[in-house]
């Protein structure tokens, strides 16, 4: 079956279903508006009461005197702080094995935004959604506010000295001490740990990762004698093959990998275009898989078979011996044969990575890379990646020790085993047998609730610290705000308990001195640029990073490492297999308590607030694509794995291998914040194999539909455009806009996405040239005056988005939310199409129906020069600036929403409720998002409001809002240029989405400057650059590039 333009967004779109048309029609769903589900029970009486109150309030307000406001200066003003001017501090985002070098933007001493640090060669100024959301977790109302004893899930306050005395008393009893942590990449923390261990020699640190890479570490040790993860050079690889490793989204160091990967995917010119080729072997669609040129669909249990098959093919081509292996489906086999020849052709410049947690599989992959000559080439062991160090087998040993009563004291540091482990139940039972259980966690997570004492650590933005994400890459963490609560650095606590002589307790910040002395002595020795420790420290603190050149290290494959096909996972015989994966936003639940991340749609499924069961869609052989077993989005089913039953909500997913389902980790958190009550905890489903956690199960039972999630929140069909419809009577394809969706304004099969194979690039360029020509011709017939002269003077702002570089990771979306005070509305409101995001990432499919390719298209206000929204505003609240910006004056808006209706791109958002609680009315408050168990709405808490950007108005109820091209940044950049008597340059103004992007897909700048990056980038790809809906003469200010794949 062929779709008219080869692009579709969902099954309903493909099937041209009436229900879909209705759904798409609902730019703002109103289906639940009148329902009285206990939330919305306002009666006429209420209305009259409120009206009476309103009149009264207005009269009162009018007659009252204006309140006296105070202006409070500093007593002694610090030189560095100028009120109204932001300060940036270099720091790092570190959470277990997640790392990103960042700049923290503070205003008047309050961190409000995370930017990438371009001085780091690891992340190169890129960020991830997780890093962007760091600031919100600082202002988490659920943070533990003091040290104390844990009683019934809450902390009973103790002074730090009391706690220290108690803990020291316990430590000195001499029992075994265990410190449970996720990967710790801080050299100075390790030094502190060493001091602690020296003082109490019966201490052992037990490390595991929320999502394990233990097999990779073990395999590398076996194959190369190095228990570590090498540097993967995606930027040097012409052919990349990944066995289920989501290296663009979640695997080890995604920000770094994404940048390198994208550097090989950018089309720099139409002629002589080249790009890498990417194969992905997987069962569910990962973010990485959705970006692949060829997705090889396998069942999760076929991973071993696939790896063996590739090995055999590569060995055959390179003259090695095969190892046999389990049977693999023919389709995958054929694809892997082709992949093998590509890989061999690119010998030494190819790369095979594997996300499996099976040692033998990883060893075979290592051998494949060895056969391909990739070791010491695209796989470099001189710089090791420190981001995954954990081994769950250690945890199993610990559980045994605890059960045997051999552990007297346990310290939990940055880990949440009571939730994250598959055998959490065993852990909980064993943990209870430990006499003293101390947690450093800042929130009351599942493990802290089981502890006897809480010694809450500072939030990262309040802490000193360092990180060594890769060998020789050192990165500092510095506080950007004084601690908000009575917390203490974890390292400080350890040193205190170890009675360290190196901790200067008299100092205001003892750990700062400790850290500084470590850097100024130990790390200083690794460089020669600065002769004094103080100078070295100052410079490192300023830059945030210090990079020492690593000594080259070549490794060779250990001939003694025996490869054995029987050690790989064997295909299962169950009817349904299930795979488990980590999402970009939630991880394995570590980020579940961050509302920004919860409300960021999962890039692939486009669902929010929870984890959903992905099921395949099936071609009925005739006209329709159906959900597996006739299931629909939002249906609830009962799933049973290993005898444990859970009720999951279904979401149909293109590309999900038939006979398999998948569900993300990280749902169903039980304590600690806003993530409680969303999704299900599937960790108990994860099987163990050889002591290692397996992220799939062979035999899952999925029931028939047992119910419906009334608030199923998937944004895929919200704010859609470019859709066709099928006329019910005639059966013809029709323009949805004209026939059905006059309200929605969708357009049939218009120029939203263009795609082509690399081989056919010249053909596409030709087609697009023709299209541009035609659009231009159409647009000549215009009633609009020619504005070239008007916009040609001064600055004209514009944007270019390279869809080839965009991997859909969502960092831009969270950055936009953070920069522009975009409110979190909560799951129920999202279900009603009320999400407020100014920037959405549309997901389009193309290619094979059962295994399609994906284009991600960041879509925000296009700032049309002939903006349709402007013409229909009755009060001129939205209008155009001579700099090409479609302006929105909130105070003028009266909320007719005509503009939203008339917007062809569906990018305008309406404040249905008082989301930011600018002025609360009780009837509105009901539906506002609040953290489970809170009395007041989320934004009503002053702590949360500290995250607001003071340069951007907080919108009130009843007004439209949308992307402003970060007008506050434009104003700031222009002012800088004016004050320096010069033209405005590219670096003066960078939009929030642009700075967040790890792959440089978004370029913003002055279209009137022929030298600006935005002009150069669009010119570089020539005719491949297009405007969405170019032919309708709205003249958008944003250009996209066609999506090119290479298969």
């Amino acid at each position: 079956m062929h779709h008219d333009n080869g692009i579709w967004v969902s099954t309903e779109d493909l099937n041209r279903e009436q229900s879909f048309l209705q759904s798409a029609e609902k730019e703002f769903s109103v289906e639940n508006m009148t329902e009285t589900d206990g939330q919305w029970a306002a009666s006429r009486r209420d209305f009259l009461k409120l009206m009476g109150f309103g009149l009264g309030a207005a009269t009162l307000a009018a007659s009252c005197e204006i309140p006296v406001k105070r202006a409070i200066p500093f007593v002694t003003k610090p030189d560095a702080i100028v009120p109204g001017v932001a300060n940036y501090f270099a720091s790092s985002f570190v959470n277990g094995g997640d790392y990103c070098s960042v700049l923290v933007k503070t205003r008047e001493g309050r961190p409000i935004k995370i930017e990438g640090n371009s001085l780091s060669s690891v992340t190169s100024g890129g960020t991830s959604a997780r890093a962007q959301a760091l600031v919100l977790s600082l202002y988490d109302t659920r943070r533990i506010s003091s040290a104390g004893t844990v009683e019934n899930g809450s902390v009973k306050k103790l002074s730090w000295s009391d706690l220290d005395n108690k803990v020291k008393g316990q430590l000195q009893l001499g029992g075994n001490i265990r410190i449970i942590s996720n990967t710790n990449i801080s050299p100075t923390a390790k030094k502190a740990l060493a001091e602690f261990t020296a003082k109490y020699p019966n201490t052992r640190v037990v490390t595991y990762d929320p999502v394990s890479s233990a097999a990779l570490l073990a395999a590398n040790e076996a194959c190369f004698g190095v228990r570590g993860i090498p540097s993967y050079k995606f930027g040097a690889a012409d052919v990349v093959l990944s066995f289920g490793a989501d290296f663009l989204g979640t695997w080890i160091s995604p920000v770094e990998f994404a940048r390198d990967y994208a550097s090989k995917r950018k089309i720099k010119s139409v002629n002589n275009a080249s790009m890498s080729r990417h194969y992905q072997v997987e069962s569910h669609v990962s973010l990485t898989g959705s970006n692949a040129d060829t997705r090889v669909q396998i069942k999760p249990s076929e991973m071993g078979a696939a790896i063996c098959a590739l090995y055999n093919e590569v060995a055959a081509l390179t003259g090695g011996a095969g190892i046999g292996g389990p049977a693999l489906n023919d389709k995958a086999k054929a694809s892997l044969k082709k992949a093998a020849s590509d890989l061999v052709a690119a010998r030494g410049k190819s790369l095979v990575v594997c996300g499996s947690n099976n040692v033998m599989e990883q060893m075979i992959v290592n051998k494949i890379n060895d056969l391909l000559g990739n070791i010491n080439s695209t796989i470099d062991f001189s710089v090791l990646n420190n981001l995954r160090q954990g081994d769950e087998r250690d945890m199993a040993r610990l559980i045994g020790e605890m059960n045997a009563g051999q552990v007297a004291l346990a310290i939990v540091w940055g880990a949440n085993p009571a939730y994250e482990l598959p055998n959490a139940d065993q852990f909980k039972a064993a943990f209870a047998k430990v006499n003293t259980r101390i947690s450093f966690s800042g929130v009351m997570d599942e493990t802290t609730a089981l502890c006897s004492h809480a010694a809450p650590a500072h939030h990262q933005l309040e802490s000193w610290g360092d990180a060594e994400p890769k060998t020789g890459h050192y990165s500092l963490i510095q506080p950007t705000i004084a601690p908000l609560f009575d917390t203490r650095q974890a390292e400080h606590s350890l040193l205190e308990w170890a009675e360290s002589a190196n901790l200067n307790r008299q100092d205001d910040q003892p750990y700062y001195q400790y850290l500084k002395s470590h850097w100024a002595t130990d790390l200083k020795a690794k460089q020669s640029k600065y002769s004094t420790g103080a100078a070295f420290w100052d410079m490192s603190l300023h830059d945030g990073v210090f990079e020492a050149a690593p000594a080259p290290r070549a490794v060779s494959f250990n001939s003694g490492a025996a490869l054995n096909a029987s050690g790989v996972s064997q295909p299962g015989s169950g009817a349904v297999e299930i795979s488990f994966y980590e999402t970009v936003n939630i991880g394995n639940g570590q980020y579940a308590h961050n509302p920004w991340l919860q409300e960021m749609p999962d890039p692939v499924n486009r669902t929010v607030w929870g984890n959903y069961l992905s099921i395949p869609v099936e071609w009925d052989g005739n006209t329709k694509m159906n959900g597996w077993m006739g299931l629909n989005d939002g249906d609830n089913v009962e799933v049973e794995v290993g005898g444990k039953k859970l009720t999951c909500t279904v979401v149909r997913t293109f590309g999900q291998t038939p006979g398999t389902v998948a569900i993300a980790l990280g749902g169903g958190r039980e304590t600690g914040g806003c993530g409680v009550g969303y999704g299900v905890n599937v960790n108990p489903w994860l099987p163990m194999d050889g002591g290692m956690i397996q992220y799939f199960a062979k035999d899952a039972k999925v029931s028939e539909k047992v119910g419906v999630d009334k608030h199923f929140a998937c944004v895929q069909h919200h704010h859609t455009m470019g859709l066709a419809a099928k006329d019910e009577k005639s059966g013809n394809t029709i323009n949805a806009d004209e026939q059905v969706l006059a309200y929605q304004g969708s357009l049939t099969d218009r120029s939203v996405i263009f795609q082509a194979n690399l081989k056919e690039l010249p053909k596409l360029a030709e087609k697009l040239a023709e299209f541009h020509h035609e659009a231009d011709h159409l647009n000549q017939q215009t009633l609009y005056p020619d504005q070239a002269d008007y916009f040609g003077t001064g600055v004209k702002w514009g944007m270019y988005i390279d869809l080839n570089s965009c991997i859909g990771c969502g960092a831009c979306q969270v950055a936009c939310v953070s920069e522009n005070n975009v409110p979190v509305v909560g799951k129920n409101e999202v279900a009603r199409h009320h999400e407020m995001t100014w920037l959405r990432i549309d997901r389009y499919f193309y290619g094979d129906l059962e295994n399609p390719k994906v284009v991600y298209q960041p879509m925000m206000c296009q700032h049309c020069d002939n903006a349709p929204c402007e013409n229909v505003c009755p009060v001129n609240a939205t209008n155009h600036s001579m700099e090409g910006i479609n302006q929105m004056a909130y105070n003028r808006c009266i909320g007719t929403r005509y503009c939203a209706n008339n917007c062809p791109y569906k990018v305008r958002r309406f404040n249905w409720l008082d989301y930011t609680t600018a002025d609360i009315w009780p009837a509105n408050e009901e539906r506002l998002f609040r953290v489970d168990g809170d009395d007041i709405p989320f934004y009503a808490d002053n702590l949360v409001r500290m995250v607001l950007n003071p340069d951007v108005t907080v919108r009130s109820r009843g007004v439209i809002e949308k992307c402003s091209f970060c007008i506050q940044r434009i104003q700031e950049g222009k002012l800088t240029a004016k004050r320096e008597n010069r033209a405005v340059l590219d670096n003066d103004v960078r939009s929030a989405c642009q700075t967040a992007c790890p792959t440089g897909a978004i370029v913003f700048g002055n279209l009137n400057n022929p030298e600006s990056a935005v002009v150069k980038a669009a010119e570089g790809v020539g005719d491949l650059a297009y405007q969405v809906l170019e032919e309708i003469n709205v003249r958008p200010g944003v250009k996209y590039s066609a999506k090119i794949y290479n298969s």
Partner: protein, 464 residues
């Protein structure tokens, strides 16, 4: 005859003008008040301070000869001991704080002070600053009469026309053999047309007034709150000619123009320890805020941990010492002790408040210019780039004893300035990119480039 009359009139004019020169003036009264009375009596004349509020002082003494009032001001305690009923009454109310003696004041000077008191007490807030565009362009009161007159004439005209129509109609009625109809004024005024017109007019006027008043809501032109420290911009910016941006130093680089921190004050006041007007009364507040010991000229290292008593002791000692020195007293006398107490009270009142429960810490000024939250204003843009003088918006601050809001800070006021102000187009390379304007300027097609021409009236220049 005529000549004598002219002479007489001339001499009267001459005499009155001479007399006016010798008579007490408000201006003199103000200076005298600040120099002598302001330490104890509230400048707003309405509230009590150490001494009673002075508004209505003439009325309160009206039952006694004017000389009694003079005497009371010059030596109050003497009158109390003489048993003057008003004096005794006052003493009973205000003891134990006696009023200082001001034996040097002449009758004329006292009259000047009374004139000043009455002036302040009776003064309604003048409109000092510029108005919004519509108000400043209209002629105000003069036009009002014009309109009223025109209205009256039109009403008479309408009435006359109505009579003519009635008469004409009656003529036709009579010609047709019908009886003429005489309408009363009441009947005329209650015709459909008249009622509709009145309703229409009322709606129009009501609507106009509503909008007009609504726009003015929240505006605070001429707002002049009392500040915790009687800081005189006149002394600092006017007399001593300190540059505005010496203290408000972030105006050139930030959107805010920053109230200076206490440490900025200390740059000068570690040396200048007594004020021209208020002596130690105000400057000691700075010391108490930051913890500076004016006796030893040193900052107090652990000032934050000092108790109120410690602070009180130090600064009372300082004030007393200075009082004694100024009055060449060997030791502090009663009057001196009163001054010390009074000034100490002032310090506590200025520095200790609900949000900061102790004396140490910042001086909490009352914010005068409150721009609405949804309006973005950047000082740096105007001060550094536009090179707009501070006075353009803030008025003659260098002449203000106490600052008030000079401008409306309304949108019309902003827009008007953006329309009129010429951009420093040729001095700044930023504006080179406006090639078309440069060409037009060169060819003479365009005379100037205003802020509006480069987008200064666009919504998102100020609202986002």
């Amino acid at each position: 005859m005529l000549l004598t009359r002219i002479c007489r009139v001339f001499s009267i004019v001459l005499l009155t003008s001479v007399a006016a020169q010798a008579a007490p003036t408000i201006e003199e009264g103000k200076n005298l008040f600040i120099a002598n009375c302001a330490a104890c009596h509230n400048k707003n004349m309405k509230d009590n301070l150490t001494g009673p509020a002075l508004a209505g002082v003439e009325e309160r003494w009206a039952a006694y000869p004017r000389a009694d009032l003079y005497k009371w001001i010059r030596a109050s305690q003497a009158m109390v001991s003489e048993g003057h009923p008003r004096a005794v009454e006052l003493w009973a109310k205000w003891k134990p704080t006696p009023m200082n003696n001001f034996t040097g004041l002449t009758d004329e000077q006292i009259e000047s002070v009374i004139l000043y008191i009455n002036d302040v007490a009776n003064k309604k807030k003048d409109d000092k600053g510029p108005k919004d565009d519509q108000a400043s362009t209209s002629g105000g009161g003069g036009n009002m009469w014009l309109f009223a007159g025109l209205g009256l004439i039109l009403a008479l005209l309408a009435f006359a026309l109505m009579r003519i129509i009635d008469n004409l109609r009656n003529i036709t009625r009579v010609q047709a053999g019908q009886a003429p109809v005489e309408r009363t004024l009441y009947q005329v005024l209650t015709t459909k047309g008249a009622v509709a017109f009145l309703v229409f007019a009322a709606t129009l006027v009501f609507g106009y007034k509503s909008v007009d008043n609504a726009t003015a809501m929240g505006r605070q032109q001429n707002y002049q709150p009392e500040q915790p420290v009687a800081f005189s911009h006149k002394i600092h910016a006017g007399v001593n000619k300190i540059d505005c941006q010496y203290c408000h130093d972030s105006a050139r680089r930030s959107k805010h123009s920053l109230i200076p921190g206490t440490n900025t004050c200390m740059n000068c006041h570690s040396a200048v320890k007594k004020g021209t007007i208020s002596g130690t009364a105000e400057i000691t507040k700075i010391y108490a805020s930051i913890g500076f010991d004016p006796i030893t000229n040193k900052y107090i290292p652990d000032y934050d941990s000092w108790s109120d008593e410690q602070i009180e002791k130090l600064y009372k000692q300082w004030i007393g010492q200075e009082y004694a020195a100024a009055n060449s007293l060997p030791a502090l006398n009663d009057a001196g002790r009163t001054v010390v107490e009074h000034q100490w009270d002032g310090i506590v009142k200025a520095l200790k408040n609900d949000s900061n429960g102790k004396i140490q810490g910042p001086i909490e000024w009352v914010r005068i210019h409150n721009l609405a939250d949804h309006a973005y204003f950047n000082h740096a843009q105007h001060v550094s780039v536009g090179q707009v003088a501070c006075q353009k918006c803030h008025g003659p601050v260098e002449q203000m004893e106490e600052v008030y809001q000079y401008s409306t800070l309304g949108m019309g006021w902003c827009i008007n300035c953006h329309r009129e102000t010429e951009v420093k187009f040729n001095d700044n390379d930023y504006y080179k990119q406006y090639a078309r304007y440069h060409e037009e300027l060169k060819s003479g097609k365009r005379e100037k480039v205003t802020v509006a021409d480069i987008g200064g009236l666009e919504c998102q220049k100020c609202h986002y």
